[in-house]
Every structure is written in C-alpha cells, then in structure tokens.
C-alpha cells in the first residue's frame, strides 16, 4: 500500500515535470519562430485587437472604480492625520507600482487568457490544428505564436491605460467630490512619483505578467484534452494558474525592485 502511494507521488512529480518541459519547449518555439513580418504581422495585429482592444471595456471600467475607491478610502484615512494633501501620491504610487500591473493582469487572464485557451482547445478538439499540420502549416507559428505575441504587446498597453484611468478616477473623487485642491493633488503626485523607480518598474512588471498569462493560456489550450470537459478544465486552469502566477511573480519582482536582493 505504502509502495503504491510512493509510486503515486513519483508519478505526480514526473507528470508535472513533463508538463513544465512541454511548456518550456512551446515557449522556446514561440520565441524561435516569431511570426514573420509579411504573413505574421497581420495575425499579431488581429490578436492585439481580440485580446487587447476587446479587453478595454473591462479594464477601463474596473480601473475607474478602483481609482475612485482608493481615493475615497485614502482620503478618510489621511484626513485623520491631516495629510489629505498627500492623496495624489498615495493613489499614484499604489496604482502605478502595484494595482495597475497586478489587477490588469488578473483581469486580462480572466478576459483574454480564458478566451485564448478555449479557442485553441476547441480548434484542437475539432481537428483544426491537426488538419493545419497536415497542410504543412505549423500551428505553433500560425495559431499559437500570434496569440502569444498579441498578449505580450497588449498587456503593458492595457496596464498603462489602467494607470491613467485609475488616477483620473481618484481625481474625480478626491478633487471634484471631496474637495482636495487640484494643484496640490497633481503637484504632490508629480514630485513624489519617479519615472524610473515607479513607472518603468510598473511597466516591467506588466510585461512579465503579460508573458506569464499568455504563455499559460496558450499552453493550457494547446495541451487540452480534446473533449468538452477537457476544454472546460483547460480554460479554468488558464485563469487560475495565470492569476496565481501573477501574484507569485509580483512578490518576486517587488522584492527585486525594492532592492532587497
């Protein structure tokens, strides 16, 4: 009995390592065969549209509300210490450094990652990928890679839009509603947000998250078991693993950027 359990643990380990290996090979192929300019470029643009542009609504709406809530909460806490003029820096720093990249990536995993995984999984189940292979068209190059690069391009852009809209939402609540002085709001923000340490690092984070989320999504779709249950679980895994990877990577990246490493 105990032998059996040990074997199961071993099997589990081997299966997982094999998955990592396959994911690594897929990543290598996507990097090695980026879509070529003539045929691949339109495909990537199409994916930027379906992954990026179509995610805009959810990103804009949630960032507006997140910015508004942040201003509301921040104002009341800061006001207790008579520091409500620091609302601008509080909102800007928390959005640009953390909330922007992280929340965008999690929303992106839910909106675009799930769609990509389901689409690729369904293409596999309906033999579209196999027939492409038999037509001597490499599905990694034609289907998988454009989706990966589309996500790679979209994610930082979405995060920047998130940042801008969230800060504007905070401005609406803080300045227009709660009565913080607009000049103080903006000038304090300007003096305490650094371009390199805050903004560039936030964008770097969003690039890393974009790679992780789309890589996980295309891999889950590509290796989905070609049944309805298989595609359902691949879609779920794309979102769950994607979101967890974002949160885990966020800690690692933050630790590296703050300089403790």
């Amino acid at each position: 009995m105990s032998d059996n359990r040990l074997a199961l643990v071993g099997q589990f380990g081997i299966d997982n390592l094999r998955q990592f290996g396959k994911a690594g090979i897929l990543f290598y192929q996507m990097l090695l065969y980026p879509p070529n300019f003539r045929k691949g470029f339109p495909l990537v643009i199409q994916q930027v549209y379906s992954e990026g542009v179509l995610s805009l609504l959810i990103i804009v709406v949630s960032s507006l509300f997140i910015g508004m809530v942040l201003a509301l909460q921040g104002y009341h806490t800061l006001a207790k210490f008579g520091a409500s003029q620091e609302l601008g820096p509080l909102v800007a720093l928390s959005v640009v450094r953390e909330l922007g990249p992280v929340v965008t990536a999690i929303l992106f995993a839910g909106r675009a990652g799930s769609a990509v995984a389901a689409e690729i999984g369904l293409m596999k189940a309906t033999e579209q990928l196999s027939s492409m292979e038999m037509m001597a068209v490499d599905p990694v190059r034609r289907v998988i890679s454009p989706r990966f690069w589309g996500g790679f391009i979209s994610m930082p852009l979405l995060a920047m839009i998130f940042n801008a809209v969230a800060i504007y939402g905070a401005y609406l609540v803080g300045v227009k509603w709660l009565g913080v002085d607009a000049g103080i709001f903006w000038s304090n923000m300007q003096s305490s947000v650094e371009f390199h340490a805050d903004i560039v690092n936030g964008i770097l984070k969003s690039i890393v998250f974009g790679i992780a989320v789309t890589w996980i999504a295309v891999f889950q779709g590509y290796t989905a078991i070609p049944t309805s249950a298989g595609i359902a679980s691949a879609t779920t895994r794309a979102v769950v693993y994607g979101s967890l990877a974002v949160l885990g990577l966020d800690f690692v990246l933050t630790a590296m950027m703050i300089g403790e490493w």
């Binding site: 579209q128 038999m134 037509m135």
Partner: protein
Amino acid sequence: MPKSDPKSDHLVEINNMSFQHENGKTVFHNVDIVIPRGKITAIMGPSGTGKTTLLRLIGGQLTPTDGRVKVAGQPIHALSHKKLYQLRKRMGMLFQQGGLFTHLNVYQNVAFPLLEHTQLSESMIHTLVLMKLQMVGLRGAMHLMPNELSGGMARRVALARAIALDPELIMYDEPFTGQDPISMGVLVKLVKTLNNSLNLTSIIVSHDVQETMQIADYVYVIVDKKVVGHGTPDSISRDSSSELQQFIQGLPDGPVPFDYPAMPLVNDFLQGGEQP
C-alpha cells in the same frame, strides 16, 4: 516540387512497425503495409484498432516506437521539421470531422493552403478555388460558413481543401461514417473519380465494408494490432480466415470477442456492492 524516385511503385512503405501510446497501450505490433502508387488502398478493421493512428503515423504526426514508415522514399519520422513540412505539402488528409476552420467561409477554407504555400495572384487563387469547389460540386456554397454546412457537405469542402495543392497522396479518415445514403454515394463517387482524374494515391481508412470494397484496388484488414489479411477486394471476400470473415460479414462473436475481457462472472458477482 521534386518528385520521388519514379522507379519505386510504392508511395508508402511500412516495415516491421510497432507503435505504443504514451499510456503504454500497444496499437500496432510488427505491421508491414505497402501502399501502391496511383491506386486506392483501403485499410479496414473494427473500431479502436488504431486506423486513424496509422494515418497519423504516415503523416508524421506520431513517431513509431519501432520499425520504419517511409513516404515517397523518405523515413518520415526521422525528417527534420523543415523537410517534414515540405513532404506534407505533397499529402492531403481528410479528417473525420472535416477539420474546417470555423472562422473562415468555404472559399477561404479552400484558399487557405494556396495562400500559405504559394505566391499566386489573387485572381489565380480565385480560379483554382472555384475549380476545386466545382470538382466536389459545391461552387454554389462558397460563401457559406462551416456551421451552415451539412456533415456531408463539410466533408466535401474539406476534400476540396485537401486537394488544393494537388497532392500525390491523399488520406481519408472514415470518409463514409455517419453519412446518409445520398451523401455516402456522392463521397464514394468522388473518391474514385478524384483518384483517377488527378492521378492520386489514396488511402481510405474505414469500417464501412461494402462502400470501401466497391472502390478499393487493394485492401488491408487490421485486427488486434496486426494485419490479418490483405489482397484485392475479391480475394479478401473469398478468404476463409475466420478473423476476416467475422469482420467482412459483421458477425457479432468470433476471434474478436463480443465480451470485453473481464474476470469470471461469478467472481464479479461475489464482490458484492463495491462500485468500481
């Protein structure tokens, strides 16, 4: 496109090939098959004998665990990625579900391989696509989306797409399964006429004995991991081997047992109410 050695009259040669799935299930054991050039070869056998797997092995989508699969004189499983894709341009495959791209209409589906692999002008591609669609009788359906087609029509579109690049070899995976008598008749006729008029080599994988025997020049029957008989349709139907006769005549019990392997009935009953 370079033609293979014209002296060899076998387009596909499978020598001593064995194949095992990743989960350890053996599908083929020491199988030898040759596919003569220019003929229609049928590969028949009960469901689950790995007929589709065989086509995937010939197409280089799977690698045999032992033995060799040679297509046009080249060992397909040992080719580099580039050479494999070059060789695949000379093959067409018709999948059971058709495998049409659902985001493209009928015209775009057939034009897809031409756009991917040739530098032809738009009007040239238009002409070629219309010719291929005319061959399968669906020129009028070129603006329809795949979800607007019946099963038989989808297969005919997939067939037009498979012959778009004028391949030497075309593989049909269960082309007659689940078709009404009319579309079945249409497909049988198409397979035959395409093979003759385009000078193709066809491989049909099927378990529809009557229809397949009607058009095949040579038949292989695979039962339980190995080839149990091969020959012309006539000689196959006269063969006295019990394995062949069970399959050809559709007898419920025989060398292929009616019962899935199980422990004796008594033992199963004595196990009580345990759910498996």
